[in-house]
């Protein structure tokens, strides 16, 4: 009995964590290149609505995911052109992008409200995916495995590869990178596009996997959680994974607690728990490392102009 509950808790927490993990991982790469894109929530919503619309029209969730990634990239490119080519302020542009994304997804999604599609299903055959406890490992959909593979890939990319080194260099000291001869603007465009694609996929996870039904503002502020996670995870993919799953876990426990009807805790306090727990744990981890060490990319959020 207990193990059944445990399995279902794990399944729920993974599902809750995956969209945040995807969006945050994209934003981590963007921030490592020295760009602060606060428009994650907007890009997620654009991805969510595009993914839903295409999946609804074609009946294919695969095409829906592709459309979501492309929509995320398209939205991100608006941000990139404004901030990189026209050197607009990144904070203001990012906030505007979120507001734009909320509006655009509402407009496009107006005709889809309440409609349903087929949910993104598990990858592995029913024998594994439906197994009472093996489904903890094999019962997830493709985006869960993709997000986990991407954590490893991004981590290796940043730490072990030359393009990753160059990307970090651009975020660390854009003027020096330019002086040595690296195309700062081009690298940042690529990073922003990657961030847009992952935010789009993260958004589509809501509309294609979590609640295969369109509703306005489907992502419910998870883009902001993703942004915060990047900072609290000190720009490390491994900790990002930990943070996202921790957030998912506490959120699942909160639902369980509500379902169990714990009366002595106000529901508002329970609702706060995922946020508090994530912040407290990740902050304590940052504190334990050597004091005074700065983790943030040194050029984060600064406009670059060649001198």
């Amino acid at each position: 009995m207990n193990s059944v509950i445990l399995v279902s808790i794990v399944m729920t927490l993974v599902a809750a964590a995956t969209p945040i993990l995807l969006a945050a991982l994209g934003e981590l790469v963007v921030e490592k290149s020295g760009v602060l894109n606060l428009g994650v929530e907007g890009m997620m919503l654009c991805g969510a609505v595009a993914g839903f619309a295409v999946a609804y029209g074609t009946g294919s969730t695969g095409l829906g995911l592709a459309a979501a990634a492309l929509a995320g990239i398209a939205t991100a490119m608006v941000f990139a052109v404004l901030t990189l080519s026209l050197t607009a302020n990144q904070v203001a542009t990012g906030l505007a992008l979120t507001i734009f994304g909320i509006g655009a997804s509402s407009l496009i999604g107006a005709g889809f409200v309440g409609r349903t599609i087929e949910r993104l299903g598990p990858v592995f055959p029913e024998a594994l995916a439906g197994h009472p406890w093996l489904r903890v490992v094999f019962g997830h959909d493709v985006m869960v495995y993709l997000s986990l593979a991407l954590v490893l890939a991004v981590s290796l990319f940043l730490r072990r590869t030359r393009p990753g080194l160059i990307l970090r260099a651009v975020g660390e000291n854009d003027q020096s990178a330019h002086a040595i001869g690296y195309p700062v603007i081009g690298i940042r465009y690529a990073a922003i596009a990657f961030g847009g694609a992952l935010a789009g996929l993260g958004g589509a996870y809501f509309s294609l996997a979590l609640t295969p039904m369109w509703a306005d503002r489907l992502t419910a502020g998870r883009g902001w959680i993703a942004l915060a996670l990047v900072v609290f995870a000190a720009w490390r993919p491994g900790r990002l994974l930990l943070g996202a799953y921790l957030f998912g876990a506490v959120m699942t426990l909160e639902l369980q607690a509500k379902a169990a009807g714990i009366a002595w805790l106000a529901p508002e306090v329970l609702a706060m728990a995922p946020y508090l727990a994530t912040i407290v744990v990740l902050t304590m981890m940052s504190l334990r490392r050597g004091a005074g060490r700065l983790d943030a990319p040194a050029c984060l959020g600064k406009a670059f102009t060649a001198s």
Binding site: R162, L165, E172, A177, A179
Partner: protein, 512 residues
């Protein structure tokens, strides 16, 4: 006769409001060590940026081995075989030495192979450097070594060195010169930018002197006097530092008594029972190679790092160990750290705002906490005029000034407060001959008025010119001061280098 390795003809480059280079021609032969001389703002940096492809000339042409070339980017320059060691290091603070070196290469090299190559270069040039350390933990001198190694890895055919010796100690300079001569003897040309004229005399075979963006002279520095070259450079007669006649030492103004302090984590040097005193009217020099506790000593004296024992530092007999930087300034102890942008000045603040930050304690710039714009402008303007700071005015942001000009401003801001004790680190690093002379003169004059001046420097010539007494800071320990008059330069060099011990082998950090 073969064509020159590099020939510039009639290069001009303008920026809004400034003609940085006008009609500049020069040529560097294969294997020649060619000096590019000029004051701050003479157009050396712009010219070098054009050669290295960072900027494009408005007019004129470049020929490489006799062939006309367009150098569109630093990458194109490196493909031709041009390497450059920047004055303002193009390093990435949060990355390790080896990562920084890898970033300077145009194609990927496997990590182990690169480590072996770097270790070989470090060893053959006897440069102590741990490839696994993060750059922000390195001293200025060590950072420069990263730049030099990064360049040498590319086996360049023309090496541009922008003021490479300004932070090296004499033995290291000599070793660098041997290296440069060795590189040149193998056919690589070297374009050597410096304002240390005696170095140019010993090292270079040809010199081009720039002033106001134009070539004012080309000469063989081995045959010219340093005074003549300096005068060509500044277009006027050189001011010598005028020492006041030897006077009896005054009262003790600053006393440091058994100051011990753990080093800045994670690689700082512990200060071990430092004791010295600086008297009114004297200049005390503290020599030593960067990374031996200089920054720790400066932050302890300035009040940036608290000292647990109040009596470890006494200002005019008053214990001030527990006081912060502002309180110490009010009492008359001013400090100028080595790093100008970010430590001595806020780069994005205007000069006027930077004045307020330190001078308000001794000059009424912000009575009752409100900044008095008029007084600030007057004070800043006075500093700019008195120290000949080349800038558009008090409202220019600090980062817009060249290193030398910003240093003149910072020195002026502190000296203008007439502190009882002034502690300054590397007062003339990266500053040209004319400006360095005027900064030194101001230090001498300040001492003559009854202040005590403590100069922490790696530049022995500077210390010998300025200091009355000299001691050496080495691995956090301070040698007893000795009167400069009784010391020879070799003796001090031995004090610095000999005591310092052998450098760790270059490959020592080469594990994993």
């Amino acid at each position: 006769m073969s064509p020159p390795r590099l020939a510039l003809s009639r290069i001009s480059k303008s920026f809004p409001g400034v003609k940085a280079n006008e009609d500049v021609s020069l040529s560097v032969r294969a294997g020649e060590i060619h000096a590019l001389l000029g004051e701050n703002g003479a157009g050396k940096s712009t010219l070098v940026k054009i050669i290295y492809g960072v900027q494009q000339a408005d007019e004129g042409s470049i020929a490489w081995d006799g062939e006309p070339v367009a150098i569109a980017s630093p990458k194109a320059a490196r493909r031709l075989g041009i390497g450059m060691v920047f004055q303002h290091f193009s390093l990435f603070d949060a990355m390790t030495v080896i990562e920084n070196i890898a970033l300077g290469l145009d194609e990927a090299v496997d990590r182990e192979g690169l480590k072996r190559q770097v270790a070989a270069i470090l060893e053959s040039y006897s440069l102590p450097l741990d490839p696994e350390r993060e750059v922000h933990t390195l001293s200025v001198g060590e950072r420069q070594r990263v730049e030099i190694v990064r360049c040498l890895l590319q086996k360049p055919r023309l090496l541009i060195m922008d003021e490479p010796t300004s932070v090296l100690m004499p033995q290291e300079v000599e070793r660098l010169f041997q290296t440069l001569r060795q590189i040149a003897s193998q056919g690589c040309s070297i374009l050597y930018i410096s304002h240390k004229l005696h170095e140019i005399k010993t090292l270079c075979e040809a010199a081009t002197i720039l002033r106001g963006g134009r070539v004012v002279a080309s000469c063989d520095p081995r045959l010219e006097s340093t005074t003549h070259m300096a005068e060509l450079m500044i277009g006027a007669e050189l001011r010598r530092v005028e020492r006041r006649p030897a006077q009896s030492a005054g009262a003790v103004r600053l006393e440091v008594d058994g100051l011990s302090l753990p080093g800045d984590p994670p690689f700082g040097t512990d200060l071990a029972a430092i004791s010295f005193e600086a008297r009114a009217g004297e200049i005390l020099g503290i020599a030593g190679v960067a990374g031996n506790g200089q920054s720790e000593l400066l932050t302890a004296l300035s009040g940036e790092r608290p000292v647990t024992r109040d009596g470890a530092i006494l200002l005019d007999g008053r214990p001030i160990g527990g006081l912060g930087a502002g309180a110490r300034r009010s009492l008359g102890l001013a400090c100028v750290p080595e790093e100008r942008n970010g430590h001595a000045a806020v780069p994005d603040f205007t000069l006027a705002e930077n004045s307020v930050l330190t001078a308000r304690h001794r000059v009424p710039l912000a009575p009752l906490g409100f900044i008095s714009a008029g007084d600030v402008a007057r004070f800043t303007d006075a500093v700019i005029k008195r120290f000949d700071v080349r800038t558009t005015g008090p409202s220019a942001p600090a980062r817009a000034l060249s290193g030398g000009n910003l240093q003149k401003f910072i020195m002026g801001r502190e000296i203008g407060q007439e502190p009882g004790v002034l502690v300054v680190s590397q007062p003339s690093w990266g500053v040209d001959a004319g400006a360095a002379a005027s900064i030194r003169q101001e230090l001498v004059d300040l001492a003559a008025k009854g202040s005590a001046v403590v100069v922490i420097s790696q530049d022995l010539d500077e210390l010998l010119e300025l200091a009355d007494r000299l001691c050496v800071l080495n691995e956090g320990r301070l040698s007893p001061p000795r009167p400069v008059a009784s010391l020879g330069i070799d003796e001090i060099g031995l004090m610095m280098g000999g005591v310092h011990g052998e450098a760790p082998p270059a490959g020592a950090g080469n594990h994993a």
